[in-house]
């Protein structure tokens, strides 16, 4: 197992290198720059600002400088938010996204798995169709519809929650539901599929024949195998959910990382684009690794590979 982890870890280094290099040159291809604004900056002022950020050097030299700093863990200053460094911005925004993502993921797992298991127990009956139809709706209703809808009902009409913001524990509820709904729906469908497949296998029948109680069958024997599809989905899903969502963050005014990821590109905030892309990349790689380990643990057949 340790060798497996070490091997995977070594593999990530060239991947990150390629991502950093590609992103570095790709953002430079976009028209306009970080300091193009509606009001034109006098050219000599523009030159001074660019000199301060090293943007006047040859592009390849800038690339070397950037990679050098990157090795030291320094993602550079943000061009748009002049007083903050990219490291500071990511470390202020990521905990928010992480917190929101954890709630969203917890909700998604709680409701998704329950619905999936219920549906699988009695396929093609009402207790299958009802949760699965809900799941279908969950997948189909876009965040930018669900979010405002929840605000309209629970924020404006009933007054239970704030319409936006990130102050109290209460402010976490609506964004977490909005963020988690899609994943809950997806997990429900995956969970149902996985469980159905397992419940139909011989060892389950054997367990039933031997008179094991249903709870024991579901939770001890079936769940472990039935969850495999959900687990492989959870790697990328967790990365997606904890790195923040531009739409949810915008609707609920949540100070998370998702907005930086998108607006940095609009602002041509080169360092911020690179910083967020690399941060996401690391996160996804790590989470996929975790998922692989969990899968091996859940599925003994994989241990020989």
């Amino acid at each position: 197992m340790l060798r497996f982890i070490a091997k995977r870890f070594l593999e990530t280094i060239p991947v990150l290198f390629v991502i950093a290099t590609l992103t570095f040159f790709m953002v430079r291809l976009a028209p306009g720059g970080p300091f193009t604004a509606e009001k034109t900056i006098p050219p000599e002022i523009q030159k001074r600002i660019e000199a301060f950020y090293g943007l006047n050097k040859p592009l390849f030299q800038q690339y070397l400088d950037y990679m050098g700093n990157l090795l030291k863990g320094d993602l550079g200053p943000s061009f748009k938010y002049a007083t903050w460094s990219v490291n500071e911005l990511i470390w202020s925004a990521f905990p928010v996204s992480l917190e929101l993502g954890c709630y969203g993921l917890a909700l998604a797992l709680l409701f998704g798995l329950t619905a999936g298991i219920i549906a699988a127990l009695r396929p093609n009956t009402l207790s299958d169709h009802l949760p699965m139809s809900l799941a279908m709706i969950g997948i189909c209703v876009p965040t930018f519809v669900l979010g405002p809808l929840l605000i309209l009902v629970f924020g404006l009409a009933l007054g239970w929650f704030n319409a936006s913001g990130w102050d109290s524990a209460r402010d976490r509820v609506l964004p977490a539901i909005t963020l988690g709904a899609y994943y809950a729906a997806y997990i429900a469908r995956l969970g149902r599929g996985g469980m159905l497949e397992i419940l139909n296998q011989d060892f389950i029948r054997t367990a039933q024949a031997k008179g094991a109680r249903s709870g024991r069958i579901i939770f001890k024997h079936a769940l472990r195998g039935g969850l495999l599809p959900v687990v492989s989905f959870l790697g990328p899903a967790t990365a997606g959910i904890i790195t923040g969502s531009f739409v949810v963050e915008t609707i609920f005014q949540v100070p998370g990382l998702g907005r930086f990821f998108v607006t940095a590109a609009f602002n041509r905030d080169y360092t911020m684009v690179l910083g967020t892309v690399l941060f996401y990349a690391v996160l996804i790689i790590v989470l996929n690794l975790v998922v692989d380990i969990v899968q091996v643990w859940l599925n003994p057949r994989l241990r020989f590979d």
């Binding site: 306009g32 009001k39 600002i49 007083t83 093609n124 997606g240 998702g258 609009f266």
Partner: protein, 577 residues
């Protein structure tokens, strides 16, 4: 628009895990003596959902109500400020925060923004209008207790003009003697620049030319003082990237002090105990919320989380007009929405075609049917009544004349004229206006228009490099004077971006700068704008208004054309009930 929540990795395909049910319909996985029947599971879900929601049951005091009791103003403030250093920032959201933290030599009257004493309690102007002597009040203090002196202003102005800082608004100081030369590195000795601290409480400014709008210029954030000793503490004051503007570090001289700054969340300022006019300040706290989405902001307002919004979503204006007419505010705003024309690209090199296009826009219909926010049709470029100046020349709206001009230019009924490209940046409002104008040109002149929609920076780049034919643009005045609208069209001006140049126009703008007599000066601007409206490198469309929502308990907040509201006059007075 699902992309936001899709997992970021590509290796996963949704069909991986989900298998079609292998069981025939109706066949159950039979589980004997089931403790976990599906019914009880459904019940559990229902219960947990209820428990989840019960956390929030019952109506609570809204933030606005809390704010009313404690004199805390909650303000939507547009985007996240790029920085809070007055010598670096360029935007309106930044200015709205900075005017609570810093105070210049003069300050603004809350009703019409005319300059009133700020740190300077009085000033004298020399007979030739070139030398201003400011007498600073002795009780003005920085938030760390230091007195605000003439030397602070001298040091601050030296900072903004220092070339290495690369301040984008340093040009605001160019009316001052030698300021431009110093900023461009042509002179090294700052003593030659027209700033002088005669003693601790007397500050003298010598101008290049008599500048009637000089005192209004002083209201701009580029003239705010900064506390150099503090800035030095956190790095080189003459370089960017100094981190002195954080809460706990920021030293200001305004009515409020910075206490909290959470990026993309909130900026909080509290009443300053050291401000000289603190007895007049009635608010205890202001919270600036950087809410970029107009829809999110409007919902926050309706939920009682904001006293004032920064803007109002176009789609909500009618709703408010019907349901909350007393909350919707439409204030005049010093800005013009217009189209730039690239005069270097045929066929729009021909001024007759440009004029034909300008004459066939039904501006009334655009402001009434499309924008619905009380905007005024623009038949000239400078907003009427800007510092007493209203342009006499008016663009007629005359379709027949336009047809005649187009025919004269060789394109009767648009025949033979290649399609014209109209560029705008991605936005609902710009698109609707562009479509309306496309229709008008097509219907009245037979001119084909192709709409080109580009992302913001791509659009800016195309505009800058004259890589367009016609493009959408806007200009908001930096200060209340026609000069702010007219000097941008001089040959080679940084914000001209049309390729247009006219020696007579340049001469007039230069003459206006040298003219001391106010009436005569405005007359020169009249002549200049007449040339602009005859040559038409631009097509004015409408004059902006500021449309937003404000709660009735906000007092001391008056409609001002720059949307500036000095906070020391603002207070909250909830209705008696």
């Amino acid at each position: 628009m699902r992309s936001d929540k899709r997992p970021l990795i590509l290796a996963f395909s949704p069909s991986d895990g989900e298998k079609e049910s292998p069981l025939p319909r109706g066949k159950r996985v039979r589980v004997r003596g089931s403790r976990f029947s599906s019914e009880s599971l459904i019940l559990m879900i229902g219960l947990s959902l209820l428990a989840f929601l019960a956390v929030g049951c019952g109506r609570r005091e809204t933030r606005v109500e809390y704010g009313d009791r404690h004199q805390i103003l909650l303000k939507g403030n547009g985007g996240e400020p790029q920085e809070l250093d007055p010598d670096i920032v360029t935007g309106v959201p930044e200015y709205h925060i900075l005017m609570s933290l810093l105070e210049g030599l003069v300050s603004e009257d809350p009703h019409d923004l005319h300059p009133v004493p700020g740190v300077a309690e009085s000033w004298d102007v020399s007979p030739d209008g070139k030398v201003y002597t400011f007498h600073l009040r002795r009780n003005a203090k920085w938030s760390n207790g230091d007195p605000v002196t003439a030397h602070d202003f001298l040091e601050s102005y030296k900072r903004i003009l220092t070339p290495s800082l690369g301040s984008e608004y340093s040009y605001m100081h160019f009316v001052v003697k030698n300021a431009r030369a110093y900023n461009e590195g042509k002179i090294i000795d700052f003593n030659q620049v027209g700033y002088k601290a005669l003693d601790d409480h007397t500050f003298q400014v010598t101008l290049e030319n008599p500048t009637p709008y000089f005192l209004s210029l002083l209201l701009h954030h580029s003239w705010f003082p900064v506390h150099l000793p503090t800035i030095r503490k956190y790095g080189d004051p003459y370089q960017r990237g100094n981190k002195w503007t954080r809460p706990g570090r920021f030293v200001g001289n305004g009515p409020f002090v910075l206490t909290k700054w959470r990026v993309n969340d909130v900026i909080v300022v509290n009443k300053s105990p050291t401000y000289w006019d603190r007895d007049r300040v009635r608010l205890n706290e202001i919270r600036f919320y950087p809410i970029e989405s107009a829809d999110t902001e409007e919902r926050a307002f309706r939920a009682g989380q904001l006293h004032i919004t920064d803007t109002m979503a176009l789609s909500k204006i009618d709703f408010y007009k019907t349901h909350y007419p007393d909350l919707l505010k439409i204030d005049p705003y010093l800005g013009t929405y217009f189209y730039r024309i690239n005069v270097t690209k045929p066929p729009l090199t021909d001024k007759r075609i440009r004029r034909a296009l300008a004459l066939t826009i039904d501006r009334e219909s655009i402001v009434k049917d499309v924008l619905r926010g009380g905007q005024l049709p623009a038949l000239c470029f400078t907003p009427p009544g800007t510092a007493g100046y209203t342009c006499r020349t008016r663009l007629p709206e005359d379709v027949n004349e336009a047809k005649r001009l187009l025919a004269e230019a060789g394109y009767p009924d648009g025949k033979g004229l290649p399609p014209i490209e109209l560029l705008y940046n991605t936005s609902e409002a710009h698109r609707i206006i562009a479509e309306a104008i496309q229709q008008m040109w097509k219907k009245n002149l037979g001119v084909e228009v192709r709409l080109v929609n580009e992302e913001w920076k791509v659009y800016l780049d195309a505009q800058r490099t004259l890589n367009y034919q016609v493009c959408r643009a806007a200009w908001i005045g930096d200060y209340v004077d026609p000069n702010s609208f007219l000097d941008m069209w001089v040959s080679g001006g940084g914000n001209n971006e049309t390729g247009w140049s006219n020696p007579e126009y340049d001469r007039l703008i230069a003459r206006a700068a040298r003219t001391a007599d106010p009436a005569q000066r405005l007359e020169v601007f009249q002549q200049a704008e007449a040339i602009l409206l005859d040559e038409l490198p631009i097509i004015p469309i409408y004059f902006y208004t500021h449309v937003y929502a404000r709660r009735p308990e906000v007092k001391g907040w008056y409609p001002t054309i720059l949307d500036n509201h000095p906070y020391k006059y603002v207070y909250l007075e909830p209705p008696a009930s």
